[in-house]
C-alpha cells in the first residue's frame, strides 16, 4: 500500500510562520533602529580647524600670490601639518622674491633640519647670523637668538661639541633665560668634560621650567655622578622619575629625607602627593619640611594654598638636622 509523505502538523506550520515573521520583524527592526540611531546621533564633523586654516591660507595666496606675509603663513601652516616639501617650496618662493627675509630663512632652516639636511640648514642659519649679528638690535634680536640656538643644536647633533658651546653661548647672550638653550648648553658642557658648568646650566634651565620637564633631571644624574655627588645624583634621579612613575619617584625621594637633600626631597614628595590629589599627605610633608627649615617659602606658601596651618610636624628634629633629620615619611 502506498503511503503519502508525512506533512508538518498545523502547530509546526504555525511555529515556522511565526519564526519567519519574527526573524523578519527583528531584522527590519534592527535595521530601522540602526538607521534612525545613526542619522539621529551622527553629525558629520567637517573639516578640522587645521584644514580650515590651510584652506584659508591657500586661498589667501591664490588671491595675492605676491603677498609675502600670506605665503609665510601658508608655509608655517604646511610646516605645522608636517607637509615639509610644500613648506619648503613656499619658503623658496619667498626667498626668490625677498632674498634676505629672515622669517623665511629661519623657516627654511627649520624645514631642512626636520628633513635631516643639516648641512643645508647650517648654511641657511649662517646666512641669518651673518646678516643680523651686526644689526642695531643684535643684542636682543629673537631671530638671531633662534639662529644661534638652531646652529648649537645641529652642532650638538653632529658631535661638534666645541662649536655647539660657541653657538649656544651666543644664543644665551641674547636671551639668558632661554631654558632650551640652557639645557643644550648643559649637555654640551657635559660632553666637553665640564660637569659643574653643566650642573649650573641644567639647574638654571629648571628654574624657568620647574615642573613637568624631566630630561634636565636625567642629565643632572649623569653630571652629579661625574662630580661624585651621590646624594644630589639620587635626588635628581628621583625627580627624573616623577615624569615616568610618581610612585617610584616617591620611593626614591623618601630614601633621601635623612640626608643632605632632605628638604628638597620632602618638598618633591609633597608636590607629587599634591599632584596626585592627596592633599592630606602633601600637607604632612610640607609640615615636615618646616621642622627642618621653619622659613621655607615653598612649604609655607603651599600650606597656605592648601588651607592648612603652618605648624611644623611634631616629630621635629634638631635644628641642624637637615642632614640628620629623624623625619619619617607617612606610613
Amino acid at each position: 500500500m502506498k503511503m503519502s509523505r508525512r506533512s508538518p502538523s498545523v502547530p509546526d506550520r504555525t511555529f515556522s510562520r511565526l519564526m519567519r515573521l519574527g526573524v523578519l520583524v527583528l531584522a527590519v527592526g534592527v535595521a530601522a533602529f540602526g538607521t534612525i540611531y545613526f542619522q539621529d546621533q551622527h553629525v558629520a564633523a567637517g573639516p578640522s580647524l587645521v584644514d580650515r586654516q590651510t584652506s584659508s591660507a591657500e586661498a589667501a595666496v591664490r588671491t595675492a600670490p605676491n603677498n609675502i606675509t600670506a605665503r609665510l603663513e601658508l608655509a608655517a601652516t604646511y610646516q605645522s601639518e608636517k607637509r615639509l616639501d610644500d613648506a619648503l617650496t613656499q619658503y623658496n618662493i619667498i626667498l626668490k622674491a625677498a632674498k634676505g627675509n629672515q622669517a623665511a630663512l629661519l623657516g627654511r632652516g627649520s624645514v631642512l633640519t626636520a628633513q635631516g639636511n643639516l648641512t643645508a640648514a647650517v648654511a641657511v642659519y649662517h646666512t641669518v647670523t651673518v646678516e643680523l649679528s651686526t644689526g642695531e638690535f643684535a643684542g636682543a634680536d629673537p631671530q638671531l637668538q633662534q639662529a644661534y640656538y638652531s646652529l648649537g643644536s645641529i652642532a650638538l647633533t653632529q658631535g661638534k661639541t666645541k662649536e655647539a658651546i660657541t653657538e649656544l653661548t651666543a644664543a644665551l647672550k641674547i636671551n639668558a633665560q632661554d631654558s632650551d638653550s640652557l639645557y643644550l648648553m648643559g649637555i654640551a658642557q657635559l660632553k666637553a668634560g665640564a660637569p659643574q658648568v653643566a650642573v649650573d646650566a641644567f639647574n638654571q634651565a629648571l628654574q624657568f621650567v620647574p615642573t613637568g620637564w624631566c630630561q634636565p633631571w636625567s642629565q643632572l644624574v649623569l653630571a652629579y655622578g661625574k662630580l661624585h655627588r651621590a646624594p644630589q645624583a639620587a635626588y635628581a634621579a628621583g625627580m627624573a622619575d616623577t615624569c615616568k612613575s610618581p610612585a617610584k619617584a616617591k620611593t626614591r625621594l623618601a630614601a633621601l629625607v635623612k640626608g643632605p637633600e632632605a628638604v628638597n626631597a620632602m618638598l618633591a614628595i609633597a608636590l607629587i602627593a599634591e599632584t596626585q590629589g592627596s592633599n592630606a599627605e602633601a600637607i604632612t610633608w610640607y609640615r615636615k619640611v618646616l621642622t627642618v627649615d621653619r622659613t621655607n617659602v615653598a612649604a609655607l606658601s603651599s600650606l597656605k594654598q592648601l588651607g592648612a596651618g603652618t605648624t611644623p610636624a611634631k616629630t621635629s628634629p634638631t635644628p641642624k638636622a637637615a642632614g640628620s633629620s629623624t623625619t619619617q615619611g607617612p606610613s
Binding site: M3, M19, G22, L49, N279
Partner: protein, 358 residues
C-alpha cells in the same frame, strides 16, 4: 509500481509500516524534541524582539546614545564629536533641551549671538535693537526653561537682553527689587521653575561680587556670597538638588550654594586631580554630572554629584588639552549641556564651539 521522478530520495517511501513498537518510540519522541527546540528558538526570538522594542522605545523617549542606558556606568569622560565654526572669540553657549538650537555669543567680530541647528548650521543671529545703544558685547547666554526665551548678558551695557525662541527681541531684563548698587551681570542660569541666577562682578572683589537670585517674575529674592567670598564669579549652573554651582573664578575654585544661599561645598584650587586653576563655564547634565571649564589648564573637569547625599562632588575625569586639533582647546570659556548627553564648550581662541558626547 512506485512512481519515480528521477531524484527520489534514496530512502524509499515505506510501503510497509514499521513495527508498531518502533513507531511509538521514534514517531512520538522526535516531534516532541523538535517542538521543544522550536519553542526555545521562538522564545529567544520574542526576547530579542522585546529587547529591541524596549531599546527603541527608550531611545525615542530620550534620544541619548546607548552608552547612557540606565544601569551603565556614567562615570566616564566623553569623546569629541564635532565643532561649530563661524563665531569670533565665542564666550557663552546655551542650548535648547533637545539640542536643536545652539546659541553662541561672540565677544569680538560682529559681537552677535549666533544661532545654530544641531548640525552646526547657522540659522539666525540675535542682536538688540539700536535703541539699546551702539556698542554691545554679548557675554553669557541662558534659556528660560519655562518660556524658552533666550537671555543674553551684555558687558558693554551691563544689561540682559531677552529674545523669543524664534529670535525676536522681546525686552531688556528689568530686575524688580533693590540691587543695592549698579550691577554687571556675567554668568546666567535658570532653575527648572524659571528662577534666574546671575553672577554680578560689579565693584570690588571685597564688596560687590555676588550671585543674585531672581524669582521667575524677575523679583530679587536673595544675594549670595558674603563680601569678599567671591572674586569675579563667572559661570553658574543649578544641579538636580537645586544647589547653585558657581565658578569663583579669581579664587580658583567652585563654590556650591544650597538653595538658601549657604555655601555647602567647594572644589579648591591646586595641582591635584580634580583641583581647579581658573574655572569659568559650569554646567550640569541630566545624569547629574557637573562640568567645570578649567580655562588655565585648557580642559574640562567632570564631577559626579548625582543624587548623592555627599555634597562635595567627586572628581571623575578630565577631557581636553591645549591645541588647535579636534578635541583640544585654547582658553575655553562658557559651556552648556543638552538632554541628549552632549556637551558644548566655547573654545574661545580657536573661534569654535566644540561638541562632545558619550
Amino acid at each position: 509500481m512506485t512512481p519515480s521522478n528521477g531524484t527520489t530520495s534514496a530512502v524509499p517511501e515505506t510501503a510497509t509500516p514499521p513495527p508498531v513498537g518502533d513507531d511509538s518510540v521514534a514517531g512520538d519522541a522526535a516531534p516532541t524534541k523538535m517542538s521543544t527546540k522550536r519553542k526555545g528558538i521562538l522564545a529567544a526570538l520574542l526576547v530579542a524582539l522585546l529587547i529591541l522594542a524596549v531599546l527603541f522605545g527608550w531611545y525615542l523617549m530620550n534620544r541619548k546614545p546607548l552608552s547612557q542606558l540606565p544601569g551603565l556606568s556614567q562615570a566616564k569622560a566623553p569623546h569629541y564629536e564635532f565643532s561649530i565654526y563661524g563665531t569670533t572669540k565665542p564666550l557663552g553657549v546655551a542650548v535648547s533641551p533637545s539640542g536643536d538650537r545652539i546659541y553662541v555669543t561672540e565677544e569680538a567680530g560682529q559681537n552677535l549671538v549666533h544661532v545654530y541647528d544641531h548640525t552646526g548650521k547657522q540659522v539666525a543671529t540675535l542682536k538688540p535693537p539700536s535703541s539699546t545703544g551702539p556698542i554691545h558685547t554679548p557675554t553669557y547666554v541662558a534659556i528660560n526653561p519655562t518660556t524658552q526665551d533666550v537671555y543674553v548678558g551684555d558687558r558693554s551695557t551691563y544689561k540682559i537682553y531677552i529674545y523669543s525662541a524664534k529670535g525676536t527681541y522681546l525686552r531688556t531684563f528689568a530686575p524688580k527689587g533693590n540691587l543695592g548698587v549698579a550691577w554687571e551681570p556675567l554668568g546666567l542660569a535658570f532653575g527648572p521653575d524659571g528662577t534666574f541666577y546671575v553672577t554680578d562682578t560689579r565693584g570690588t572683589t571685597t564688596t560687590g561680587h555676588r550671585v543674585l537670585v531672581f524669582s521667575p517674575t524677575g523679583t530679587l529674592v536673595r544675594s549670595m556670597g558674603a563680601p569678599g567670598a567671591l572674586a569675579f564669579p563667572n559661570g553658574v549652573a543649578v544641579d538636580q538638588h537645586g544647589n547653585i554651582n558657581v565658578a569663583d573664578s579669581n579664587h580658583g575654585r567652585l563654590v556650591i550654594f544650597n538653595p538658601a544661599g549657604k555655601i555647602i561645598a567647594t572644589i579648591g584650587q591646586g595641582v591635584g586631580s580634580g583641583d581647579l586653576g581658573l574655572p569659568r563655564g559650569v554646567a550640569v547634565d541630566g545624569a547629574g554630572r557637573l562640568y567645570v571649564v578649567n580655562t588655565s589648564e585648557q580642559q574640562v573637569q567632570i564631577y559626579n554629584d548625582a543624587s548623592s547625599k555627599v555634597v562635595t562632588p567627586t572628581y571623575i575625569a578630565t577631557f581636553g588639552t591645549e591645541g588647535q586639533l579636534d578635541g583640544t582647546f585654547e582658553y575655553p570659556e562658557g559651556m552648556a549641556t543638552d538632554t541628549r548627553a552632549h556637551i558644548y564648550i566655547a573654545d574661545r581662541e580657536n573661534n569654535r564651539v566644540q561638541v562632545w558626547g558619550y
